[in-house]
Amino acid sequence: MAAIAVPTSNKRRRGGHGRLQLWHVFWIIVAVLYFVVPLYSLLQFSFEGSVNHHSAGFHWFLTVFDDPQFRSSFWLSVQIALETVLVSNLLLVPTAFWIHLKLPKLRPVMDFVSILPFVVPPIVLIVGLVPFLQPFTFIYSRPEVLPLIYVVFALPFLYRSLDAGLRAIDLKTLSEASANLGSSTLGTLVRVVLPNLRQSIISGSLLTVAIGMGEFTISSLLSFNTFPVYIFNIGQSQAYEAAALSVISLLLIWGIMIGLFLLGRGGRTSIALGATR
């Protein structure tokens, strides 16, 4: 539900040797089983069943790869995710920069605005958005409306990531130095601030991609055939194909998480997908 970053190691406590108590081992085993068993079952299910008296193997995967709907929904979701990243960065990077530089007293307001998407979850927002956007058919009936809405759900994660990045650099000194060297405010943003914010932008954007790829509520209620909606529809009648698609979706999300982990700041892990539940 919230974007949080937890250090994977704690230096103060490092160097703990000795043995774990049985009590601790018990909880670790329970947790690992809870984590692994559904994944194992999903994987087994996706290879299960038989086709023409042969075991299925990769059959279900090949079936879904051959489905033109798989390709169209997958690319629609990729497109939506990238558009969400583009719009949210174009909107938030200059805004966050401007607020830090010129309007620091607005920062508490931004902190408040950036938690609002949690108070108004997708299912609630769509109730207000449908009558509001319906008159504007040129956008309402096109899938491009989805990235425009998803920007709202990317806001908490991207803004917080940018905010943390901007706090970490001495923006005032940097921009004064840049201005003294004859740069405009825009030049400062592009040539000085952006390179310093690279990591914040990348990690915020990867979480945004995950939201754009995984969002189900709004795209299904507006009847757009995105990847999660496609998996949902397949699952209504074809259990094995749905399992294979879930494996693909899972690998995709984890690919993004690993990307985050590798690019992230010194081994932190982040979670974000309130919008996909």
Partner: protein, 305 residues
């Protein structure tokens, strides 16, 4: 609008600077606000105005008159039941996730725990907490659904898992939600556990306290606001969730989120005011949760900076 204003006004500052520097500063001060205009406009269009209209519409009658009939309607009968069902599911999954997540977190930051355990478990928690929605639902169908791997396994012992714990029921859904709830709990309470000072434990031990006494008398009172705060967040996330539940329960679902969806897609035809009132009810509940969370957070920060 923003662009034209800026262009028309552009020649002004030079003249103004020569005459009165003070007024230039205030003029530039108001120009500053233009910088947040695109963001303010965007958020107004896609978040603030639709939400505001929804709240107003929840109190609007058939001829635009003010009425609380919609609100009264959703506080009774099937609508009230949908709220109760959602709250029960959210509470149960927050409880499961909270308990498992808390004990796992204490295990991975325990004194005897090797450091690789922490990095492994935190990474896994990040991955599991991100596994939600439609794919998670199918993972559990393959596990404890009708033909699920575990269901088939325990059938040999005469247990019919799929009918005793149906995935579309409250307990079944709570077990599914626990999959992303407990890793979230781990990530939320680890910072609080890190905040417990080694000295407190040593002091308790020097005074002859057992491990249980230390947890009961020292650690728990300090951690309780953090634990409850984290569980409030888990509750809120589960309360607002839709995708997972819709995949598993389909048209039989009776959660408030599923009710709203059915109203929107026209599966149920009643007056539209009901969907506004249900959505408004969700906003009220989540707002109360957020206030509760903020208060707990303040308490938590007293000891754990």
């Amino acid at each position: 609008m923003a662009v034209t204003t800026a262009v028309e006004a552009a020649p002004e500052p030079v003249a103004v600077r020569i005459r009165a520097p003070k007024s230039r500063r205030s003029w530039k001060g108001s120009l500053r606000w233009l910088g947040v205009l695109p963001f303010a406009a965007y958020i107004s269009i896609f978040l603030l105005i639709p939400t505001g209209e929804l709240i107003v519409d929840a109190f609007k009658g058939a001829n635009n008159n003010f009425t609380t009939s919609g609100i009264t309607a959703v506080m009774h009968g099937q609508y009230l039941q949908s709220f109760t069902a959602s709250i029960e599911l959210a509470a149960l999954s927050a409880l499961f996730g909270g308990v498992l997540g808390f004990f796992l977190a204490t295990a991975i930051v325990a004194r005897g725990a090797p450091s690789w355990l922490r990095s492994t478990m935190v990474t896994f928690s990040g991955m599991a907490a991100n596994f939600a929605g439609v794919p998670l639902a199918f993972a559990f169908t393959s596990t404890i659904g009708v033909g699920g791997v575990i269901t088939v396994l325990v059938k040999h012992f005469g247990i019919n898992l799929a009918s005793s714990v149906p995935l579309s029921g409250t307990l079944g859904l709570a077990l599914v939600y626990t999959y992303f709830q407990f890793p979230l709990m781990v990530l939320l309470v680890i910072p609080a556990l890190d905040g417990l000072k080694q000295e407190w434990r040593e002091a308790a031990e020097n005074l002859g306290a057992s491990s249980f006494q230390y947890w009961r008398r020292v650690a728990m009172p300090i951690l309780l606001p953090s634990i409850l705060g984290a569980m409030v967040l888990l509750f809120g996330g589960a309360f607002a969730a839709y995708a997972t539940a819709e995949t598993l329960s389909g048209s039989t679902g009776n959660l408030v989120t599923e009710y709203i969806a059915n109203l929107l897609t026209g599966n149920i035809i009643v007056n539209t005011q009901i969907s506004y009132a249900l959505a408004f009810g969700m906003i009220v509940i989540i707002t109360v949760l957020m206030i509760f969370y903020a208060a707990l957070q303040r308490r938590a920060n007293k000891w754990l900076r």
